[in-house]
Every structure is written in structure tokens, then in C-alpha cells.
Symmetry: C2
Subunit: 281 residues, 2 copies
Amino acid sequence: MSAGNGSLGLIAGGGELPRAVAMAARAAGRDVFVVPLVGSVTEDWIENFPHEWLTPGEPGRIIKALKGAGVGEVLMAGKVDRPKFSELKLDAKGMLLLPKAVAAAKKGDDALLRFIVGICEDAGLTAISVAQAAPALVADEGTLGKVAPHAEHRADIERAFKIVHALGALDVGQAAVVCDGLPLAVEAAEGTDAMLLRIPLLRESLRGTAEKKRGVLAKALKPLQDAKTDMPVVGVQTVKNAAAVFLAGIAVEAGAALILDKAAVAAEADRLGLFVFGAKP
Amino acid sequence: MSAGNGSLGLIAGGGELPRAVAMAARAAGRDVFVVPLVGSVTEDWIENFPHEWLTPGEPGRIIKALKGAGVGEVLMAGKVDRPKFSELKLDAKGMLLLPKAVAAAKKGDDALLRFIVGICEDAGLTAISVAQAAPALVADEGTLGKVAPHAEHRADIERAFKIVHALGALDVGQAAVVCDGLPLAVEAAEGTDAMLLRIPLLRESLRGTAEKKRGVLAKALKPLQDAKTDMPVVGVQTVKNAAAVFLAGIAVEAGAALILDKAAVAAEADRLGLFVFGAKP
């Protein structure tokens, strides 16, 4: 974080996270150089930062670009579509590392991210976490916005975290929904958004309705996950999605989740009457 | 099971299970008297057994009918739609017990079943499990049918049971799908069939396809569940459903799940090329 570490290098995939990280780091007074990954990034926020478009098959050029920009610390954030290796633009280092990259990609997107970060570390750059690069994004303890969880919500939050921790220890998923003590949905490979979409399909007595919001979405880091690449993220869209399936609120663990951006999330939660709560970890 | 226990009384809800229990008990030489619950049973197999139609609101009449038929042991099986208590036909005992029944029904269908079984026990009848009434239905160890799980399937089975046991200990669900080490889906309130339906929505690299079956459905008893009312059940339809979402097979725990009926399930599994496997518990 000190000036001695030079610019922050951000290898950016898609979604809201990379932009939020870049903005937060810049707001904290840091120079940011972005390597948006071709095929994964479609957002135009990139234009506001010095950047160079490259592919996941060009680790040599990625490292050269980062070092050329005076980067000392590097961070990877955002969603990376698993590349079609047969169509991927490769540099010399990419060709050399291709077999390992293919093997990593087969294990999942997380493994591919960790692989690219690992290459940067081998080249002498320091990999840091989103929490280190943009501490303003890290969830605080307590209520964000004006709506606070009631006692029964607190019981659901506690139960949901127990479930998510048990699942996380088995590397299953990082989210669950609990309503009045009953686990309504548990995340596996489908992802949080798809998980939420099945809540309204449950019978009405088990869940909330447009008239009466019920149930809590809890998200937590898997114990096996690398906080450098994979903290759970709550954004304005998460609040909208939770409200659309009639949940009463969202809970994360303080210090172990990211909120993008806090003011906008609080405003949306207030508007929709949901709580967003940072539980004591 | 001895003649000294008199007829078997079967309080029957909907679905395949009650018929399978009645047939298996009769095949084992036992007289069976059925109380099909009005509103829950639509199947016509009832006509093959002495029976009396009653509602969940008539516990007094249920006990009278069972005792009049010489029933000593009683069993409840099948799905019971939560009754609309305001429209329910009630006998005197039903009116007396209504507040407790409503409270039980609010906790879920299982609680309502256990409540009705409890009333029978209070009246001096002995509640027995499906496994006791129809041991032929209980899953055996090993492969049912001709298709056996490969080594990689065995690893997925083991992983899936670990997940289901962890979830079961938290009273979440009783089923999970694992494919090549990756948990694809975990059951909560939606039920096994709904859980299976989301497998084909996952991206193709993670799951089986029409050309290549992959992944295992595992079902296990929750440690908190009462084996008298709630063993996991695999039937011909379960095999069809698993095949429809391109799974390689189904695993249950030997001695702790029911197969309805084994010959038909084996034939369907063979026809569709799936394994049905009883794991050592």
C-alpha cells in the first residue's frame, strides 16, 4: 500500500468487482494500471485508467506490461471465462506454460486465476488481496443502511452461516438461504444468482412474499478459498436479486466479504426495505 | 412381524411407497388393513386391500378402524398434503387434538405424520418402520442391476455421502449430486426431483450429456430423521429422472434406504445404462 510498492497492477476480468477495486484504490491515492483480459471484460470503465488489453495466453506480455508501468503489487479480480485454448492468442511464455494452464483451467475458473497470479509472483511481483488493495470495500461489522435484522433474522443468519461453513469446509458452495429456521436453498455449482431464483418456486408457506419479506441470504468465504482471488461479493445487484425473491436481508462476515459500493448498496437496501448485515466472524 | 402382532395397519398417503409396502407385507404372508387418507391418495391399488377411507382430522375413527380390523402394528407411509384445517372433516378426538395438529403441520409434513403416528401409539398400537413391515424394500449392499460404478464413480459416491451427511447433521436435505469431484447440486427445501432439474442448466463441461453420462446422485437418511416415517426412497421414477439429467448412477446406503421395487428399478437402470448402488453404511 505504501508508495514504495509502486503502482497497483490490476489484471481484470468481467463484472463489477475490478472497476470497484480500481476506483477504491485510486480514491485511496494509488496509481492503478489495468490489464483487461480480452474476451472477459466488456465494461468501458477501463478507458479511465492506463491499460493494455492482453489475453490469459500472454503471461509474458502481461508481466512486461505490468513491470513497464512500474507495478510492484498485482491483483487479479473479476470473472474470467474459461478460454478456448485452441483459439487463444499465445506469447512465448504462454506456449511454454500452456499445458499447466489447461490443467489449471480444467479444475475450474478459480484455479486458472490462481495460476496466472502464480506466474506474476514467479516474475517477482507481489500478489495482494482485494482487501489489501481496496480496504474500503471490505464488509464492516453491523448494519449497512437503515434496516436492521430482527432477533428471528439473527437466528436465521446464525443457522445459515453454520450451513455455509459446513459446506465450505467440503468445498461445495459459499451461500445459503434460511427462512424461519428452515434451509430453503444451498449453493453448489449453480452460483448464488441461480440459487436465489428457485426460492419463489418453493411453496408460499415456506418463504417470503411480495407482501411479507422473509428469509436471509448468507455468503461466506470457503475455508479452502484464497482470499486473494475469491472473497464473497455483495453489490447493488445482489440486493435487487434478494429483494426479487422476497428475502428480508443479506448477511456476510465482517472482514471476509466485499461490498461494492457501500453507499449504493445501503441506498438500494433502504429503498427495498432489506437489511445488509456484517456478522461478527 | 409375527402372527401374534395381528394385521399390519397401513395409514396411507400418496405416491408409490404405500402400495409397495402393502404389496411387500402381503407377499411376506401378512394381512394388511389400509386407511387411505382422503385428499392424499388417488391411486386405485387400495381396492386390492381391505380398507376404510378417513381424513387426518379423524384420529378417533382411524384408531377404531385399525383396532376393529385386528391391527396390532401400525405404519404410516406416503405423501400427505398438508390439509386445510378449516375444511377438514373432524371427529371428536380430532377436534380435541386440532390445536396440536395445526402446530405440527406448521413444522412441516414430517411433523404431521409423526403426530398421527404418535396418536396411534398413545392408543396402544405399536408403530413400526417400513423396514420392519417390508424388509424386502430395504436397499442391499452392492450393485442392483448390471451396471456397476467405476472407480471414479466410487470417489464421487464417497464425496457425495460426505456432503449429504454434513447437510443432514444440520437438518438441511438428504441428497446431493457430485460429478468428477465437483458438487453440482445440493438439496434443501426444493426436494430431490427439483434439485435434479437444475443439473442440465449447468455448463456442459461440468456435467454429463446425452452422449456421455456423468455424475452421481446420493441420497441418505438425515441423522435427525425418524426411520419410521422418512427413509430415502429410490423408485423407477428416480432412475428415469437421474437418466434424464445425464447422471451415471444413484447411490444409497445399504440398510438405510428403500428401493421400490427392486426388480423394476434394476430393469430400468439396465435399460438406461445407470448404476444403482448400495454403499456400505
